[in-house]
């Protein structure tokens, strides 16, 4: 069976095994797209999603802000009985009457305004039942990518003079929101909390364009660390505040925007170079950080940015992406023959079997992919056509060797220590620099080999060493995820 035949068999098998039920997909698309929109009588204008996911909340606390808040009680139908706020990073506040009809819905910050844009800034929800309105808002949050991540969190706060009604509303809303998220197969969690409002809470919330529920979370954080600033904390998401509470608020995190900037600077990119990006606060990890994912030219690169120092602690720059594009030319500086000679020279060979060279563009640069066989090994090189730089290379056992039926009995054994030394030497590392060093003897194709693994500076190295000669048969360096 040739390689092509095997590939075709695999493709055919996958096509047959893959589900083929478009109707099921379409039925879900229709339902999810219509949910929020139909209920509120607005048109189904699709909005470009902000690719940046925010947080959702964990564990179900109960937030019932008692007393304060709301406003004056005048006429029964128009009197505010409860104030319900939903916070992720967008902060949205709903005022409802005793019949649980929405009197007003307001986005308290710019992100909230964007989420409510499909609902005429929240005005479409006026007169709707509270649970319907909350479902609509949660649906919009999901569609806008705010609740995508596993550790995302949403905070529900209920403020009501009537303690029993506040508690019941809060319970119903938590169950309702949880149901919406589950039906969307969303794993974000729902957080609520019990809060006793104080006189200053509303004014502090209003000053910072946040809800009283979020203001209360900030007060709790400040109680752990009085050196922090209310105004700075107000800019954090609910998820970040939750993590701060859980970790004793050791300091002021740099925030998602600063983390993104740090990662972009480190990568040598600007925001416009990215097709999308995502920032995920991980303040409750052993090393609190922001995980920043940048999507550039279809490639996703992840960076870890220390949450308190802005230092990039994981990831690598992207020189290939930031280098200026060379004009494409019919006569590249390096010809195919040059590329083959460069590859052979690098491999220490005069000649080889079955040399094949393909040219391909990668990020706008012409590259040669040179493959050949020699001495029982298969070689692959990737060479930049403009500069002759070897941008990638690999040596592996010649796959054609599998055809051979018998191989001579192996003789000699350099020993595990020598094999490790050969691998470390090749990697340019000393034993003291690496961790998780493993060395195992293995038998493959009638040959005794040492399989050696170790990690260093976030990279995982794998070597296969011929026990008889100490020669490196195969090696790889991979990002250790």
């Amino acid at each position: 069976m040739t390689e092509r035949e095997l590939q075709e068999r695999l493709k055919s098998a996958l096509d047959h095994a893959a589900p083929d039920d478009l109707d099921a997909v379409l039925s879900r698309c229709g339902a999810e797209k219509g949910n929020v929109i139909d209920l509120n009588g607005t048109t189904a204008a699709r909005r470009r999603k902000r690719p940046r996911a925010r947080s959702l909340i964990a564990a179900c606390l109960a937030l019932a802000l008692l007393g304060g808040g709301g406003g004056a009680f005048y006429q029964r139908a128009y009197a505010v009985a409860s104030v319900v706020s939903l916070d992720v990073n967008p902060s949205i506040e709903l005022k409802v009457n005793r019949s649980e009809k929405v009197l007003s819905c307001a986005g308290l910050n710019a992100e909230a305004a964007a989420v409510l844009a499909d609902m005429d800034g929240g005005r479409d929800l006026k007169g709707a039942k509270l649970d319907v309105a909350v479902n609509a808002i949660v649906g919009a949050l999901v569609r806008n990518g705010y609740l995508d991540r596993l550790d995302s969190a949403i905070l529900i706060s209920v403020e009501d003079r009537d303690t029993a009604r506040g508690a019941r509303l809060q319970q119903e809303l938590v169950a309702s929101v949880d149901g919406v998220l589950q039906s969307a197969e969303n794993t974000a969690s729902v957080l609520s909390q019990n809060v006793a409002a104080d006189a200053g809470l509303n004014s502090r919330a209003q000053k910072n364009n946040i809800s009283t529920g979020k203001a209360h979370l900030i007060d709790r954080t400040l109680a752990l660390n009085g050196d922090l600033s209310f105004d700075e904390l107000a800019a954090l998401s609910v998820e970040e505040l939750r993590d701060l509470l859980q970790t004793g608020a050791p300091g002021m995190p740099i925030g998602q925007d600063a983390a993104l900037r740090a990662a972009l600077d480190f990568a040598g990119l600007s925001e416009t170079d990215c097709t999308a990006y995502e920032v995920d606060p991980e303040l409750d990890e052993r090393t609190p950080c922001y995980e920043v994912e940048l999507f550039v030219n279809g490639r996703e690169t992840e960076y870890g940015v220390d949450a308190y120092t802005s230092q990039v602690i994981r990831g690598e720059p992207l020189p290939a992406v930031t280098a200026p594009a060379l004009p494409r030319s019919d006569t590249p500086a390096v010809t195919e023959a040059d590329a083959e000679a460069l590859a052979l020279a690098d491999a220490g060979l005069q000649d080889a079997d079955a040399i094949t060279t393909r040219s391909d563009y990668d990020d706008g640069r012409l590259r040669y992919e040179v493959t050949f066989f020699a001495g029982g090994c298969a070689y692959e090189y990737e060479i930049d056509a403009a500069t002759g730089t070897i941008v990638g290379s690999d040596r592996d056992r010649d796959p054609r060797a599998a055809q051979t039926v018998s191989t001579p009995e192996p003789t000699g054994d350099v020993g595990g220590d020598a094999a490790v030394a050969a691998a470390l030497d090749h990697a340019g590392l000393a034993e003291g620099q690496v961790s998780r060093l493993k060395c195992e003897q293995d038998r493959d194709d009638g040959r005794i080999e040492y399989e050696i693994e170790f990690t260093c500076d976030g990279y995982e190295y794998e070597y296969t060493i011929d026990a008889a000669t100490g020669a490196i048969l195969d090696h790889e360096r991979d990002w250790d995820d």
């Binding site: 893959a18 999603k49 996703e300």
Partner: protein, 190 residues
Amino acid sequence: MQEAAKPMEALSPDRARLEALITGVAAGDRDALGQLYGAARGAVYAMAVGLVKNAHEAQDVTQDTFVRIWDCAGQYRPGGSPMGWILTVARNLALMRLRRDARVQTMDEAAWDAIPADAPGVTAEDRAVLQTALESLTDRERQIVLLHAASGLKHREIGQLLDLPLATVLSKYHRALKKLRVLLEGDDAK
């Protein structure tokens, strides 16, 4: 850099077609979603089954992926790799499911054999080749081989998708194919 890459993308009819379909989906065109489903479901399933290692879960992830694409097609930026973007969505959903389940299911024979029972189009040959791929390859090898077979992506693009150097993709690919060939031809010989 993106500007430099664009003329290259425009040369590929498959890419242009996928990109046009994603644009249609972003505008709410259900026919476009249907065509996109036909063109990419095999590749999405390959990505899903390579990660979740369970036939039924992979079918769920495949369906979820196209629902998610319906919701967020507006997020795709023209000029990129449409198949790479689709598979990134699939990969994220598969990883989310794994994290939600907080376990990686080992792919036992019973789970894999459940596919033919559910999918009448799966032949004995399909079963043999897929079962061998699932059982005998390492996680990375399986992902690379299945994606290359089903998605039409080049090794370089698979490397970008899985965040692996090209040389690693090539080496694992060749090693995996060698393993598969030996195993399958051994079976044929019987």
